[in-house]
C-alpha cells in the first residue's frame, strides 16, 4: 500500500487528510495525482491547481518520481511558514 496525505487548503477542499492506494508498476507521483483526480469533479478541480507540490517519504520531489509500496506520498500547496 501507499499512504497518501493532504495538507492545508488541499486537505480542507478535499475534506480528506489521508487515504491508502495500492501500488502498481512504474507508478509515478503524476500517475497517482491523475488517478486521484478521477474520483469526482471536485477532486479533479482541486488537484488540477498548477502550483501543487508533492513529497515522497517527507522529501519534496518531482512528478516523475516512481513510488513503491510502503512509500508515503504527500500533496500540498506552496508553503507559507515563518
Amino acid at each position: 500500500m501507499i499512504k497518501v496525505l493532504f495538507f492545508a487548503r488541499l486537505r480542507e477542499q478535499l475534506s480528506t487528510d489521508s487515504l491508502q492506494l495500492t501500488a502498481t508498476e512504474n507508478m509515478t507521483t503524476a500517475i497517482i495525482l491523475q488517478q486521484l483526480a478521477k474520483t469526482d469533479d471536485l477532486w479533479a478541480k482541486v488537484l488540477s491547481a498548477d502550483n501543487l507540490l508533492v513529497a515522497v517519504n517527507q522529501e519534496i520531489t518531482d512528478w516523475d518520481h516512481i513510488v513503491k509500496t510502503g512509500d508515503e506520498v504527500a500533496f500540498f500547496p506552496p508553503v507559507t511558514g515563518g
Partner: protein
C-alpha cells in the same frame, strides 16, 4: 537545536542558551511575529498547520546547509504551530559564530529557506473569516538568489 511546538518560546531563555560560549564574538537572532495587517484585512490571528516529521527533517537539512557555508557554533530554530493571536511570536532563529558576517548571513539564510522549504501553512483569521495565505513570489526569489550564490541544488 530544532523545535516545532504549540507553546510560546521565551527569547531571553533562548538567548541565554545560545550565548554562553566565549569563542563566539557574534550572536544574531531573528523573531517573526503575527502582525496586524496583510493584504488589507484586519488580521486577528493565525492558525499554523505543518507536516510532522517532514518539517523537522527539512529544518535539519537547512541547518546542515548553513553549517556547510558558514563557521557557526550554536544554531536554534523554533517554529510554532496551532492558533496564534495578534502580536504573538511565530518563529525564532538564533545563530552564534566567531564572525559577525557569518552570523548575519546564516541567520537570514535560515529564515529565507525556512519560508520556502519547510512545510508550514498559515491560515489567517480575519474579521471576514479565515483564509489560507498564498505563498509570496518574493520569498521564492530570495531563496533562489541564495541557491545561486551558494551553489546549492534545490
Amino acid at each position: 537545536m530544532i523545535r516545532v511546538q504549540q507553546n510560546d518560546f521565551n527569547v531571553a531563555d533562548e538567548y541565554e542558551k545560545l550565548a554562553n560560549d566565549n569563542q563566539d564574538g557574534a550572536v544574531v537572532t531573528f523573531v517573526g511575529k503575527v502582525r496586524d495587517f496583510n493584504e488589507g484585512l484586519g488580521v486577528q490571528g493565525l492558525s499554523l498547520e505543518h507536516y510532522p516529521g517532514m518539517t523537522e527533517s527539512v529544518l535539519n537539512d537547512i541547518e546542515k546547509q548553513a553549517r556547510e557555508h558558514w563557521p557557526l557554533n550554536h544554531v536554534t530554530i523554533i517554529h510554532r504551530v496551532g492558533d496564534l493571536t495578534l502580536g504573538e511570536q511565530i518563529v525564532f532563529i538564533g545563530v552564534t559564530s566567531p564572525h559577525r558576517k557569518a552570523a548575519f548571513a546564516a541567520c537570514e539564510f535560515l529564515i529565507d529557506f525556512l519560508k520556502t522549504k519547510a512545510p508550514f501553512w498559515k491560515q489567517e483569521l480575519t474579521t471576514e473569516g479565515s483564509k489560507w495565505l498564498n505563498a509570496k513570489a518574493c520569498d521564492d526569489q530570495t531563496s533562489q538568489q541564495w541557491s545561486n550564490k551558494l551553489n546549492i541544488k534545490n
